[in-house]
C-alpha cells in the first residue's frame, strides 16, 4: 500500500469520473470542461508512468491549445443545452452495447495478464522519459515522421482556414 498506488487510484477514479461527465453532460460547455479535467488527471497518470515530457505536452497542447479551440468554437456557435438527448435509435443502442461489450472483453483479456513495469538501473531511470531522451530519438530515428507531422500540421492549418472561411 504505497503512495504511488494511492495516487494512481485517485487519478484513475477522477479521470473516469470526468470522462463519464464528458459523455453525459447535456451542454457541450460542461463536456468540454470535464474533458479538460480528464486531461489534467491523465497528465498525472502519465507522470506516474515516468512520462514527464508527454505529461507536459499533454497539458500544454491538449488542455491548453486544443480545448481552448473547442471552447472558442462552442462559444462561436453559442450552442445551448442539447434540447434533447438523441433518441435511442437501433444504431445507437447497438453502438453503445458494442462499446460496453468491448469493455467487457478487454477487461477479461487484461485481467488475465500480469504486466509489471520494467526494472531500470538508476542511470537509465534518470534518462527515461526526459525531454533529452525523447528529443534524441525524435530528431534522429524519427526525423522523417517528425517532418511529416510538421507538414501535416501546416496542411491542417491551411485546410482549416479554407474549410471554415465564409469568404476570403
Amino acid at each position: 500500500m504505497n503512495i504511488e498506488l494511492v495516487l494512481f487510484g485517485v487519478f484513475a477514479v477522477m479521470t473516469l469520473l470526468s470522462a463519464g461527465l464528458v459523455i453525459t453532460a447535456r451542454s457541450p460547455i460542461n463536456s468540454a470542461m470535464a474533458l479538460v479535467s480528464t486531461f489534467f488527471f491523465l497528465a498525472g497518470i502519465y507522470v506516474l508512468l515516468w512520462a514527464h515530457t508527454v505529461a507536459v505536452i499533454q497539458v500544454l497542447v491538449y488542455a491548453g491549445a486544443i480545448m481552448v479551440l473547442f471552447l472558442f468554437v462552442i462559444m462561436l456557435l453559442n450552442l445551448g443545452d442539447a434540447p434533447h438527448r438523441g433518441k435511442p435509435t437501433v444504431t445507437r443502442l447497438l453502438g453503445g452495447a458494442s462499446a460496453v461489450g468491448l469493455l467487457a472483453v478487454l477487461g477479461v483479456t487484461l485481467g488475465r495478464m500480469d504486466a509489471q513495469p520494467a526494472r531500470l538501473d538508476a542511470q537509465a531511470q534518470a534518462a527515461f522519459g526526459t525531454m533529452a531522451a525523447i528529443g534524441q530519438s525524435i530528431f534522429t530515428t524519427w526525423l522523417l515522421p517528425f517532418e511529416a507531422v510538421s507538414l501535416l500540421l501546416l496542411v491542417a492549418m491551411v485546410g482549416a482556414v479554407v474549410v471554415a472561411k465564409s469568404r476570403i
Binding site: 453502438g95 458494442s98 472483453v105 483479456t109
Partner: protein, 742 residues
C-alpha cells in the same frame, strides 16, 4: 452384212487408250460454252451465242460418238478392256473406257477422284444427252428468238448439259452427286427462267427444294455405303475377296487410290456379299464394329437402297416427291423437253442401273421401287386424264413413263428400263417439242380445248406428234415405245423376287392398267389438238407452221422414236443358247455383275425368256382398247353431248383429278405449314422470349435491381457506420479472446 463393214464398226477411229484421257472434254466443252454465253453473251449478240452454244454441244456430241465407238472397239478381235482397279490383274472390265484425273478431295482415309467411266450404259446416255441436247439447242435458237434473255438461256442450257454429262460419266457416287445436284441447279435456273413471273420462280424453288429432300436421302445413303465398305473391309476374309475376283491387297489399294464409293468397288463388295461365297461376310452377317455395329450387311444395304430410292424419287419425280415436275412446266418448252422429259428426270433410273449389282441384293428395296413406280405411274396417268394444259398432260405422262421405268428397275429388268429410258427420251422430247411448236404457232396457247384441227395447218408438227403418240401408246406396234414398254412388262411378269412373289403379279396388272390409260390420255391429247375443227376460243384464227430449226429436230426425233424398236428384237445370240434382244446383249457387259450377284444371292430370279408373239398381241390389244376408248369418247361421245349437263359424280371425279387429287394441298398442310409455324414459334418464343428476353436481359435486369437494393444501405448516418465498425471490432475481439481461451 459383210465382214469389212462389221470390221469398220468394230474399230474405233481413235483407239480407246488414246481417246480416254480426253473424256473430260465432253464435259468441259458445254461448260466452256456456258461460261462464254453467261459472261460475254450480252456483248456477243444473238447469233454468236447460238453459234457458241450449239457448237459446244455439237462438239460434245462428236466426242461422245467417238467415246461410244471406243467402248465397242474390238479391233482385230481384241475387245477394248481395262484393268479393274478393285480386282485382280487378270480381272478386266470389257467394253468400257475410263480415265482418272486424280484426286478431287481427300481427307482422313476418304478420297474422291475425278474419275470418268464410259461403258455401254453411260455411252448410250451420252449420245442421248448430247444428241437430243443438240437438237433441242437447235430448236431453241428459233423458239427463243424473241426473248431478250437468250444468252442466259443458252448459258443455263449448256450448264445443264455439262452437269448431266458429269452425272452420267462419273465413276463414283460423289462425282455423280455433283452432276445430280448440278442438273437440279440448272433446272432451278431454267424453270425460273422467266423470273419476273413470281409463280414461275416459285416453281423453280419448289423443284429445287423437293430435289433437296431427295438429295438429303442420297447423302445419307452414300454415307451408309461408305460405312458399309469400311465394315466389309474389316470383316471380309480371303474367300469373300475370291468370290469377288479380288484380293484384300488389291481391294484396299483400290479404295486408297480411288475412294470407297467407286461403282466398281461397290460392285466388288456386292459380289462378295451373297451367302454363296461361304466367306466370313454375307448379307446376314452383323457388322462388328463402327457406328453400324449390330446391323446386318443386308439390312444396311436395304436401308441405303431405300434412301437412294427417295433420292431417285426426288430427281425422277416419283411418289412421294413427284409434285415438282408438273409445276416445272413453267419453264420454256425446250427446257421441259430436254430436262423434264429426256434427260434429267431419268437420272434415278440411271442410278439404279448403275448400282444394279447392289440393288439385286435387297428384294425388299426392289419390291418397294417397283411398287412406288407402279403407283406413281397409275396416279400420274389418272391425273393426266383430266388435264387440259397440253404441257401438263405431257408432264404427267412423263411421270407415268418414269414410273414404268422404275417398275422395270425394281423388278430387275434393267436393260428394258434403260431401253425405255432411251426410247422415251426420243418420243417424249418429240412430243414436248411438238407441243412447243404448237404453242409457238398458236400464240402460246396451251389449252388443248382451245386448239384442234391443226393437222392441216401444221403438217410437220402433226406428223411427228402422231408418230410419237403412237410410239408412246403402242397403239401401232413396231414402234420403239411399244417394244420397250412391253419388254419391261414381260420382264416384270416373269422375274420373281424371292419372298415377294406377289409383287410381280401386282405390278404386271398395274402395268396393263397403265398401258390402257396411257393410250387413252395420249390419244385424247392428240385428237383434241390436231383433229376435229379449230376451236372457237383459239387465240389465232390460223396457226402457222414453225421454222425449220424447229421442225427438223421434230422429224429426227420422230424418226428415232420409230426405228429404235429394232433394239428390242431378239437378234443376238445369247451366251448359252437362244437369242436375246439386241439391247440386252448390248448392255450385258454392264449388267453381268448384277446377274452374277442375283444368281449367287438367290434374292431375285431374273427371267431371260423373250416375249412370244402372243404376249405382244395381248399388249397391243390393251393399248388399242385404251386408244379406242379415247377415240370413241372424244370423236363421238362428248361432241354429241355438248351443252348437256354433266352428271354430278362425273364432275366431282373430274374436279378431283383436275386438282391432282389435292396432293399439293396435302403436303402444304402436313409439312410446309407446320415447319413454317414451328419456325415462327421457335423464333418468337424460344429465341426472342426465353433466351433473349428472359435469360439475357433477365440477367441484366436482376443485376440492376440488386444494385438498387444495396444502395439502400447507404443511409449517410455516420454514426450508423461507426456502430457497424464497432460491432465488427467487438466481433473480432471476442473471436480473438475465444481463440486465446480455448
Amino acid at each position: 452384212m459383210d465382214g469389212s463393214l462389221v470390221e469398220f464398226f468394230r474399230t474405233a477411229p481413235i483407239p480407246p487408250e488414246v481417246f480416254s484421257p480426253s473424256l473430260g472434254l465432253i464435259i468441259l466443252l458445254p461448260l466452256l460454252g456456258a461460261f462464254v454465253c453467261g459472261v460475254f453473251g450480252k456483248w456477243l449478240g444473238r447469233a454468236n451465242v447460238h453459234l457458241v452454244a450449239c457448237s459446244a454441244i455439237a462438239g460434245a456430241f462428236v466426242l461422245s460418238l467417238l467415246a461410244f465407238w471406243a467402248t465397242s472397239d474390238a479391233a482385230g478381235g481384241r475387245v477394248v478392256s481395262m484393268v479393274n482397279p478393285f480386282g485382280l490383274e487378270r480381272d478386266t472390265i470389257r467394253y468400257a473406257i475410263a480415265h482418272d484425273y486424280g484426286t478431287w478431295f481427300a481427307a482422313g482415309d476418304f478420297r474422291v477422284n475425278f474419275g470418268l467411266l464410259v461403258d455401254h450404259l453411260s455411252g448410250i446416255l451420252l449420245l442421248i444427252i448430247t444428241g437430243v441436247g443438240f437438237l433441242i439447242h437447235l430448236y431453241s435458237t428459233s423458239y427463243m428468238e424473241h426473248d431478250d434473255g437468250y444468252w442466259r438461256f443458252f448459258a443455263y442450257l449448256n450448264l445443264f448439259v455439262a452437269a448431266m454429262l458429269t452425272l452420267v460419266m462419273a465413276d463414283n457416287l460423289v462425282l455423280l452427286f455433283v452432276g445430280w445436284e448440278g442438273v437440279g441447279m440448272a433446272s432451278y435456273l431454267l424453270i425460273g427462267f422467266w423470273y419476273t413471273d413470281s409463280a414461275k420462280a416459285w416453281a423453280g424453288r419448289k423443284a429445287f427444294v423437293t430435289n433437296r429432300i431427295g438429295d438429303f436421302a442420297f447423302l445419307i445413303a452414300t454415307f451408309l455405303l461408305i460405312l458399309t465398305v469400311g465394315a466389309f473391309n474389316r470383316q471380309a476374309d480371303a474367300r469373300d475377296y475370291n468370290a469377288a475376283g479380288s484380293s484384300r491387297a488389291r481391294y484396299e489399294q483400290g479404295i486408297s487410290q480411288r475412294g470407297p464409293v467407286t461403282f466398281k468397288g461397290l460392285e466388288k463388295m456386292a459380289l462378295a456379299l451373297p451367302e454363296g461365297t461361304g466367306g466370313a461376310v454375307s448379307l446376314a452377317t452383323p457388322i462388328e464394329s463402327g457406328p453400324l455395329a449390330g446391323y446386318t450387311f443386308g439390312g444396311v444395304m436395304t436401308a441405303a437402297l431405300l434412301l437412294f430410292l427417295l433420292g431417285a424419287a426426288g430427281k425422277s419425280a416419283q411418289l412421294p416427291l413427284y409434285v415438282w415436275l408438273p409445276d416445272a412446266m413453267a419453264g420454256p418448252t425446250p427446257v421441259s423437253a430436254l430436262i423434264h422429259a429426256a434427260t434429267m428426270v431419268t437420272a434415278g433410273v440411271y442410278l439404279f442401273c448403275r448400282m444394279s449389282s447392289l440393288l439385286v441384293l435387297s428384294p425388299t428395296a426392289m419390291a418397294t421401287i417397283a411398287i412406288v413406280g407402279a403407283l406413281t405411274s397409275l396416279l400420274a396417268a389418272l391425273i393426266a386424264f383430266a388435264q387440259d394444259d397440253i404441257k401438263k398432260v405431257l408432264a404427267y405422262s412423263t411421270v407415268s413413263q418414269l414410273g414404268i421405268m422404275f417398275m422395270g428397275v425394281g423388278m430387275g429388268v434393267f436393260w428394258a428400263a434403260a431401253m425405255h429410258l432411251m426410247t422415251h427420251a426420243f418420243f417424249k422430247a418429240c412430243l414436248f417439242l411438238g407441243a412447243g411448236s404448237v404453242m409457238h404457232g398458236n400464240g402460246d396457247e396451251t389449252d388443248i380445248k382451245k386448239l384442234g384441227g391443226l393437222w392441216k395447218e401444221m403438217k410437220w408438227t402433226h406428223a411427228t406428234f402422231l408418230i410419237s403418240t403412237l410410239a408412246i401408246t403402242g397403239i401401232f406396234p413396231f414402234m420403239s415405245g411399244f417394244f420397250s414398254k412391253d419388254a419391261i412388262f414381260h420382264g416384270v411378269h416373269h422375274n420373281h423376287l424371292h419372298g415377294l412373289e406377289w409383287v410381280s403379279t401386282f405390278v404386271y396388272v398395274m402395268g396393263l392398267l397403265i398401258t390402257a390409260s396411257t393410250a387413252f390420255y395420249m390419244s385424247r391429247v392428240y385428237l383434241l389438238t390436231f383433229t376435229g375443227k379449230r376451236s372457237k376460243e383459239a387465240k389465232l384464227a390460223h396457226a402457222h407452221e414453225s421454222a425449220w430449226h424447229m421442225t427438223l429436230p421434230l422429224v429426227i426425233l420422230a424418226f428415232l422414236a420409230f426405228v429404235t424398236f429394232v433394239y428390242a428384237l431378239p437378234l443376238m445370240p445369247r451366251t448359252g443358247g437362244g437369242m436375246q434382244p439386241v439391247f440386252e446383249n448390248f448392255l450385258s457387259p454392264v449388267l453381268r455383275p448384277a446377274e452374277a450377284v442375283a444368281r449367287a444371292a438367290e434374292t431375285v430370279h431374273l427371267d431371260t425368256s423373250t416375249p412370244a408373239v402372243g404376249d405382244y398381241f395381248f399388249a397391243w390389244l390393251v393399248a388399242l382398247s385404251g386408244g379406242a376408248a379415247a377415240a370413241f369418247a372424244y370423236l363421238k361421245f362428248f361432241p354429241s353431248r355438248v351443252g348437256q349437263p354433266v352428271p354430278a359424280f362425273a364432275r366431282a371425279v373430274r374436279r378431283t383429278a383436275v386438282n391432282k387429287f389435292y396432293v399439293d394441298e396435302l403436303y402444304e398442310f402436313i409439312i410446309i405449314r407446320p415447319v413454317k409455324f414451328t419456325a415462327f414459334i421457335l423464333f418468337r418464343v424460344v429465341d426472342a422470349l426465353v433466351i433473349d428476353t428472359v435469360l439475357v436481359r433477365g440477367t441484366a435486369y436482376v443485376t440492376e435491381k440488386v444494385g438498387l437494393g444495396l444502395r439502400r444501405l447507404q443511409t449517410g448516418d455516420a454514426q450508423a457506420y461507426a456502430a457497424i465498425m464497432a460491432l465488427a471490432i467487438l466481433g473480432g475481439a471476442v473471436y480473438a479472446l475465444l481463440q486465446v481461451l480455448s
